[in-house]
Structure formats: C-alpha cells, structure tokens
C-alpha cells in the first residue's frame, strides 16, 4: 500500500473529479427513526408512491368519511339538534373499513422491505431493529388513527356548525377519540405482526382479513350457542375473540354507552377490566414479538 493515502491524510488529496467529503451534521438514531416514521406514514396512504398505490387507502378514507358527512348534513338540514349516531358507535358500524385498510396497508409497511430484502440496508446503519419496529408501529398506529379520527372530526365540527349541544358532543367526541386510539393500537399491532411473517404482500392482506373475519364468525357463533344453552349472562366474554367486538365492548363499558353494535351484552366489571388488559397485551405483545422477529436478520 505504498502510494495510497491514509484516512487522516484526506485533506491533502486533490479531488480533480470533485468528490466532496461530507462535513455536515450526522443526526443519529433518533432522527433516522423519525424519518422512517414519516416516510412509512406517508407510504401507508400511498403518498410519494405511484398513483396506483394511493387508490385503496384513499378509497377507504373516503368511505370512512362520506357517511359522516351525510349524517352531519342531514342532521343540520332537518334541524335534528342531535347526531343520530354516537361517536364510538360510528366506528363500530364502519369496523370493516378499518379492517380492510389495516389488511391492505400493514403489508405495505413491512412486506416490501422483506420482499426486496431492503431490511439489511437499514440494519447496516445506526438504526437498531427495535428502532425500525418502533418507527413502523408508530406509523401504522398513526395511519389507522388518522383514518378513524377523520369521521370523528367531521361529526364534531358538524355538530358545532349545527349549534348542537357543545358539552354532550365534546364529551362523546372524546369517547370517540379513545375508541379511535384503541382501534389504532390493536389493529396496527395485529396487522403488522402478521405482515412481518411473509414477504408476499398478497398473503399478508389475505391473512389479516381472515383474522378479522374468522374471529368475528367464531365469536358470533359461540355467542349464539351460549344464548341457546342458557348462558346468556356470560356471553359477553366472547367479545374477547374478535378485536372489533373487544374494543366495542370495552369502550361501551368504560363510558357506559348503550350497546347497539355487534355485542348485545355489557361486560361485568371483571369483564371490562379483563378486556382492557387484553387490549394492552395485544398492543404490547405485538410490539415485543415484532422486535423479536427483526432481531435476527
């Protein structure tokens, strides 16, 4: 290595083709994680991607928002003085939209990097696997939260424009925000966990949809059986089997809202506490399993 220069001799080198060294700041892991969060959140809505990848997420956002707009417009027009649908109730009614959005977009966040083997490039940088998972999880939670908050905001702003009861609407809007947050945490966690298992986006989408549908079917059938066999009082427990029913029951229990959705029985106090614990376990468990999934790449 006679005529080669050591790194410390860099300043003496004449760069005749103009290679410039980078002397500026290196912002480290926190910045990289935030950048990954931002780009992943944009990616969840197809922003910065091809037109085709915007279709589904944007369609889901529109489907989520349009009924809220109609409800608001009609209530104001006929001077109802009250929205016909309660805030958390609206999210229960449109659970399938949230589920489809999660199923379609969670694989966008993870399967791409697995399929095109981009993951090792991230981990050859200062980012650790836990930073990667943190950024992706936060992005997916934010995406579902934006989706579910969209109609909540439309309804609340509409109620204000229609001079409806400020106190009642704001209180129930807050219930809606809590419900939206719980949907975001649980749906994003389950969706990402499944998506992380396959590099094939199609498989991921199908598996996530299957999880929501099969668990709803099993839960409903089991409730039917319990009703027929006279175990009606305990039948609220079946809500634990489906993420949507679980959140619906929990929110109704927490805020003592009338049950009009998929689950007809109010959980007991023990049930409500157990439901809350299950939500916490699902959200935290998904995160922990994802970190473990990416530890060995």
């Amino acid at each position: 290595m006679s005529e080669t220069h050591a790194p410390e001799g860099r300043l003496d080198v004449i760069h005749d083709i103009g290679y410039r060294h980078y002397e500026g700041p290196r912002l480290g892991v926190g910045y990289a994680t935030r950048s990954l969060y931002t780009s992943s959140l944009r990616g969840a809505f197809g922003l910065g991607r091809s037109g085709k990848s915007k279709i589904l997420p944007m369609a889901m956002a529109v489907i989520m928002a349009v009924p809220a707009l109609i409800i608001v417009a009609v209530s104001i027009y006929v001077k109802m003085g009250k929205l016909p649908v309660d805030y958390p109730q609206y999210l229960t009614n449109l659970q399938f939209v949230t589920a489809v959005f999660t199923a379609a977009q969670a694989p966008v966040l993870l399967s791409r990097d697995l399929r095109f083997m981009t993951v090792p490039l991230y981990f050859s940088r200062p980012l650790r696997s836990s930073d990667y998972v943190r950024a992706k999880y936060a992005a997916m939670v934010s995406a579902v939260f934006i989706l579910t908050m969209l109609p909540m905001l439309i309804m609340w702003i509409g109620s204000m424009l229609g001079s409806m009861d400020f106190g009642y609407n704001t209180k129930h809007f807050a219930f809606g925000v809590v419900a939206a947050a719980l949907y975001s945490l649980v749906y994003a966690g389950l969706g990402l966990l499944i998506a992380s298992l396959t590099p094939r986006r199609g498989f991921g989408v199908a598996a996530i949809i299957a999880l929501f549908m099969v668990s709803a079917g099993v839960s409903g059938a089991l409730r039917g059986v319990m009703h027929v066999t006279g175990h009606q009082a305990a039948s609220f427990w079946v809500a634990m089997l489906n993420p949507g029913f679980l959140i619906d029951s929990t929110v109704s229990w927490m805020f003592d809202l009338p049950l009009r959705g998929n689950v007809a029985e109010m959980p007991t106090t023990l049930g409500g506490v157990a439901f809350l614990a299950e939500i916490a376990v699902l959200a935290a468990g998904a995160f922990v399993l994802l970190v473990r999934r990416y530890r060995k790449i």
């Binding site: 290595m1 290679y19 990289a32």
Partner: protein, 323 residues
C-alpha cells in the same frame, strides 16, 4: 492505523464453526477478502458491522470495538450486500435519499449527497426512473451509491461484481479503485474470483473454513518467480514433429533446468541473463516461431490451492456452505 483488526475472532453456530480464531489486520486501501462460498466472509462482515456477536475473540473497525460500539461503526461504514436489496417501484434518487436520511443526514444534505454520489457512480438521467427498469449493472451502481452516500471512512462490498457481464465487471472494478484513489475511502471487497482481486486490491486476505490462510500484499502474492515461460509454434512442414521435446533436449544440453506446465509451455529456470540468449538460439536453430518468452508470476490461486490442501479446508468450506 489499521482499518480492521480481528484478534482470535471465532464464531460458532450450533452445527458449524464459521470463523475459527481469525487474527488479521487490514490497513487502509483496497483490501480483498477471498474465500470459497461459505468460507466465513458474510459472517465476518456481520460481526464487523456489530450485527452479530462473536463467540470468542475481539474485533475493531476504525478503532471501535464491534461488541460495544456497533452504532458508531455503522455511522462511519458503508455496506453493499451481495443480494438484491432495491425496491423496484421507486427511483434511484428517491431510494438513495431515503437511505442517506437513515444514516442521519439532514434532508437537504441527503439530496445534495445523493445527486453527487449518483453522478460519481455513473448514473445520470436514468436516476429519475423506477429502479425496476434498470440493468444489472445500473442496479449494482445504485447499491454502491447507497453504501457511499453518507461519506463513510470504510465500505464493505460483498461480491460487487456478481451477475455482471465482462464489461460491467471491468467498470465496477475501476469504480472500486476510484472509491479509494479519488474518494479516499478504504474498501474491503469480497470475491470468489481471484483474478479480479489481483487487479483491484492492494492487499489480499484469504480465508477458508473460517481460518486465515494468508494475508499479504497483492504485489507479494503475484511476485515474479525465477521461471521463464517459453512457448513455440509447431513446424509448418512437419506438424508431427515434437518441437517441445526437441527444444527441451537442446536446453538441457546447454545446462538449463527445464520443466513443463500442463500445456505447451516449457518452464525454464532463470539463473542469469544469458539464459534468454540460449533459448533464443535454440529456438532459431529448430526453425520454429517463438510465441512467448516471459517471466512467470505467481497467482493468488496458488496460495489458495496450497492452503486448501494443507488444511483440508475445502471440505470444511463445503460443510459450511451446506448449512
């Protein structure tokens, strides 16, 4: 200062030892890491990036300990993997900007550095097209660009010429030389093609079965031997005549030591300048043409073959490859 130092570095997997007490020192420059598939190259790179713990021994990259300072190492090192790693639906510019930000560069700097580095690796207008439309050579350049965009002090290139045609291969090797010569970035490049490394590297490290076979400068490895290679044409009028045998006899008669390699080439021991004259005269007297008269050089492959025989490493390497 050494760029990479390993001391007794060992990595054991449940069924196989990938690195076996490897102690080696790599100086700044272009350094080749040679080994058969499964010789432990990729395991070594993972350990050097601080992504896998060593079972035993220590390693330092740019003076930083791989066990405790992995983050600091990965900030200063670039890595180009052997496998595909590019999403097809984004442009080279978008992708490299993203990877620059993942290395901690602010948005504006990431864009400037991306434009610079894509020009340096030879991607111009096509950098705005989706990567899916690129040729293999262009994809390799994007992979190299993402390893260089944050201006590392060292890049680890894993089989960068894989899948390239001969022209693309030459371009990539020239680019690798420039990374060191013009950018002042040290390079560790792995390959199983020895000829490539002879041309590109200042120094070559040969590992096999996780063991160090040899670490020396390319100049040493390819030094001139004291053998002259002599090759002559056949007789036009009498193709059946064994020219080599006749030449051999004449040279032996003149007191020279003559051997032969596998082909039509005689190897004559060079123990003085007069040997050239003797050979010239002998060839002239036989009335044949002289195709080649040159001093033999060593090839890296000789080291590798000799080492593999000595340690029976080939079997071991195969064993690793099966896992």
């Amino acid at each position: 200062m050494a760029v990479i130092t390993t001391d007794n570095l060992t990595k054991r997997f449940p069924r196989v030892t990938a690195l076996d007490h490897l102690s080696v020192e790599v100086q700044p420059g272009v350094v080749g890491l040679v080994g058969a598939n499964g010789a432990g190259k990729s395991t070594l790179i993972k350990i050097l990036l601080g992504l896998a713990p060593a079972t035993e021994g220590t390693a330092r990259v740019l003076g930083l300990d791989v066990a405790t300072e992995g983050g600091a190492i990965r900030e200063r090192v670039g890595y180009m993997p052997e496998h595909d790693c590019l999403p097809p639906d984004v442009s080279a510019t978008e992708f490299v900007v993203h990877m620059a930000r993942m290395s901690g560069l602010p948005a504006t700097a990431a864009r400037e550095r991306t434009a610079d580095i894509l020009r340096h690796v030879g991607l111009y207008e096509e950098r705005y097209r989706p990567i899916g439309t690129y040729s293999t050579g262009m994809k390799q350049r994007v992979k190299l660009a993402q390893a260089l965009v944050h201006d590392p002090q060292l890049v680890l290139l894993d089989e960068p010429t894989n899948g390239l045609d001969p022209v693309g291969r030459d371009d990539m090797l020239e680019l690798i030389r420039r990374v060191h010569r013009e950018f002042g970035i040290s390079v560790l490049v792995t390959s199983h093609l020895l000829g490539e490394l002879e041309r590109t590297c200042d120094h070559v490290v040969v590992i096999d079965g996780g063991k160090l076979l040899r670490s020396s400068s390319t100049a040493d490895l390819t030094a001139a031997t004291s053998l002259l290679a002599v090759e002559v044409t056949e007789r036009q009028d009498d193709p059946a005549f064994d020219v080599n045998a006749a030449l051999r006899a004449r040279l032996a008669e003149a007191g020279l030591t003559v051997g032969a390699d596998s082909g039509h080439v005689l190897l004559v021991e060079l123990n003085g300048d007069e040997v050239y004259d003797v050979i010239r005269d002998a060839v002239a007297e036989l009335g044949v043409g002289l195709v080649r008269l040159e001093q033999r050089r060593h090839h890296i492959s000789e080291v590798f073959a000799a080492g593999a025989h000595a340690t029976d490493g080939a079997d071991k390497a195969e064993e690793v490859a099966h896992v």
